[in-house]
């Protein structure tokens, strides 16, 4: 009865499946028992108040626990059919997953080098190819027109909003299969946010997106399905259309949507 999104009969297998995921930092539990799938070419929205475990969830998908000593992950995550614990080359995994965090991080490199870093790591050397990737990524992140004349200047000197779009351009330069966005619009003005949302809709043709957002309406505009996280648990996952037409089953979800907390 509650089947949602495209017809299950025609549905391709999921790109990413998460089963019973729990995350701890030392003694502090950040996330508990989360199940979630992301299908190819789908945008999944995640909403919920602060400290719901949304950011930790994204970090686990990228196997950040392998680099951050205090982070501990239990449960099963499969990506492209592989259990993330069995992936032999985690760096290759991360290069297929783009990440954008709420606070922009302009690496202390030139704008050009910021965006060219990921392709260079992949081994792209030809100048013309790099030029192409840099321009394409910056255009998609709605930054090209503002910086095309000063690609050699330092990326960390851009304004906050520009740096965030630089971060998005950098993530797109990876040509990822999965894009993880964590409240990407916090540091960006509404007009630019709308432009990037348009880009994300186009990108759906090529990749899957997990969109953590503090703007419920952003999830409504973009996501096919939306998950509601609360206090380290995934309360429910539901087709966005259904969510906003009063289809939420859990009272806490309804309360959140109506702005009673968060």
């Amino acid at each position: 009865m509650v089947t949602a999104g495209p017809s299950p009969v025609a549905a391709p297998p999921a790109l990413l499946t998460v089963r019973n995921l729990s995350i701890r930092y030392g003694d502090k539990v950040a996330l508990q028992g989360v199940d979630l799938d992301v299908r190819p070419n789908e945008i999944v929205g995640i909403i919920g108040p602060a400290n719901a475990g949304k950011t930790s969830f994204l970090r686990a998908l990228n196997r950040m626990d392998a680099l951050v000593p205090e982070m501990q992950v239990d449960g099963t995550i499969t990506f492209a059919g592989r259990d993330l614990r069995d992936v032999r080359n985690l760096y290759a995994l991360r290069s297929r997953i783009g990440v954008v965090f709420p606070l922009p991080v302009g690496l202390p490199l030139s704008i050009y080098d910021n965006v060219a870093l990921a392709p260079r790591l992949r081994g792209v050397k030809a100048r013309s190819e790099l030029d192409g990737i840099v321009e394409r990524s910056l255009r998609r992140a709605a930054l090209w027109d503002e910086v095309k004349d000063r690609l050699k200047s330092l990326g960390s000197l851009l304004s906050g909003g520009q740096q965030q779009r630089l971060t998005i351009a950098r993530a797109l330069s990876q040509e990822p299969e999965l894009l993880l966005l964590d409240e990407f619009s916090i540091a960006i003005d509404p007009v630019t946010t709308m432009r990037i949302e348009e880009v994300l809709k186009e990108l759906r043709q090529e990749l899957s997106i997990v969109l953590v957002t503090n703007l419920v309406q952003q999830a409504r505009r973009l996501a096919a399905r939306t998950a509601f996280f609360l206090g380290g648990r995934c309360v429910e996952i539901i087709a966005t259309e259904l969510l906003f037409s009063g289809g939420a089953k859990d009272q806490r979800t309804i309360d959140y949507l109506e702005g009673r907390f968060g």
Partner: protein, 294 residues
């Protein structure tokens, strides 16, 4: 308005303000008591040593066991010792610093390494000398040579490189590392492309401090490679050599009939090298602090 200023000190507050002034002045005097010797030393060395500081003093080889002539061979020997010590200490020290800053977790190994570093820095220089004699001169059969002396200096200055480099690596924001990891960079690619280029001044500071220590130390080299008197310039790392610090010890205590200005001139040379190097390190640190771009 001129009448009662509510913020004027009451007599009680006035007294405590006065006592505060006295306390402050007292501590300033103590601080100056500590610092005046430093100025005094430089002053004495300048006054007593300046007459001897001629170009020929720097460029001529010593004669009569150092009682006459210049300090050319000692100067060149010190450059050799310092350079070789740097070549040995820098890669090992920077590697250790990278490990501690970028890889090490809070476990027994890391704690043991930190304890080892603290103790390497704290072991007396003469004990380092004994180690150099046992390990480099005899066991590794370098003989009494520049190589043995420089290795001894390198072990001794290792903590300096490690601490200075580790500090500068840790000053690079964590967010840079995570952003680069997220692009699929390996740990090493992150260190090589992002972390190290942004901590270069720190490594440079470590390098300068090593030079200061290596130039000034006497005990660790006197039994491992430096000799009291030798008129030949060293030809390679297996030669013995004179060194500025040991030469100063020599002309101060061992040789008779040394003109009074000679030890002061040697000391002045030594201290000018060391202090200018230190000033350079301080300047680097300040400049780094001044133009942090994140």
């Amino acid at each position: 308005m001129t009448g009662a200023n509510p913020f004027a000190p009451t007599s009680l507050e006035g007294r405590s303000l006065a006592s505060q002034g006295v306390a402050k002045a007292g501590f300033l005097v103590i601080t100056l008591l500590l610092l005046i010797p430093a100025l005094g030393i430089v002053g004495v060395l300048l006054v007593e040593g300046w007459p001897g500081m001629t170009l020929s003093f720097l460029l001529e080889k010593p004669r009569e066991n150092g009682a006459a002539g210049g300090i050319a061979t000692a100067l060149v020997g010190t450059i050799w010792l310092t350079a070789v010590a740097l070549v040995v200490a820098l890669p090992v020290g920077v590697a250790a610093a990278i490990y501690l800053s970028e890889y090490a977790r809070d476990n027994w190994l890391t704690r043991t390494i930190n304890v080892a570093i603290v103790n390497l820095a704290g072991v007396p220089s003469i004990v380092h000398a004994l180690f150099g004699v046992g390990a480099f001169v005899h066991f590794l059969q370098f003989g009494k040579s520049i190589l043995a002396a420089s290795c001894t200096l390198a072990v001794m200055t290792l903590p300096v490189v490690i601490v200075a480099t580790r500090e500068s690596l840790q000053a690079v924001p964590k967010a840079f590392r995570e952003a680069t990891w997220n692009l699929g960079a390996t740990r090493w690619q992150t260190i090589w492309r992002i972390v190290l280029p942004n901590s270069g001044s720190g490594i440079l500071t470590g390098l300068i401090l090593v030079v200061c220590r290596a130039v000034g130390e006497t005990a660790p080299i006197m039994f491992t490679g430096a000799v009291f008197f030798r008129q030949l310039f060293p030809n390679g790392v297996f030669d013995k050599t004179m060194a500025l610090s040991l030469h100063l010890f020599n002309v101060s205590t061992q040789v008779t009939n040394v003109p009074r200005h000679v030890p002061f001139a040697v000391a002045l040379t030594l201290i000018l090298v060391v202090l200018s190097m230190n000033a350079l390190a301080i300047w680097f640190r300040m400049r780094l602090r001044g133009r942090k771009k994140w």
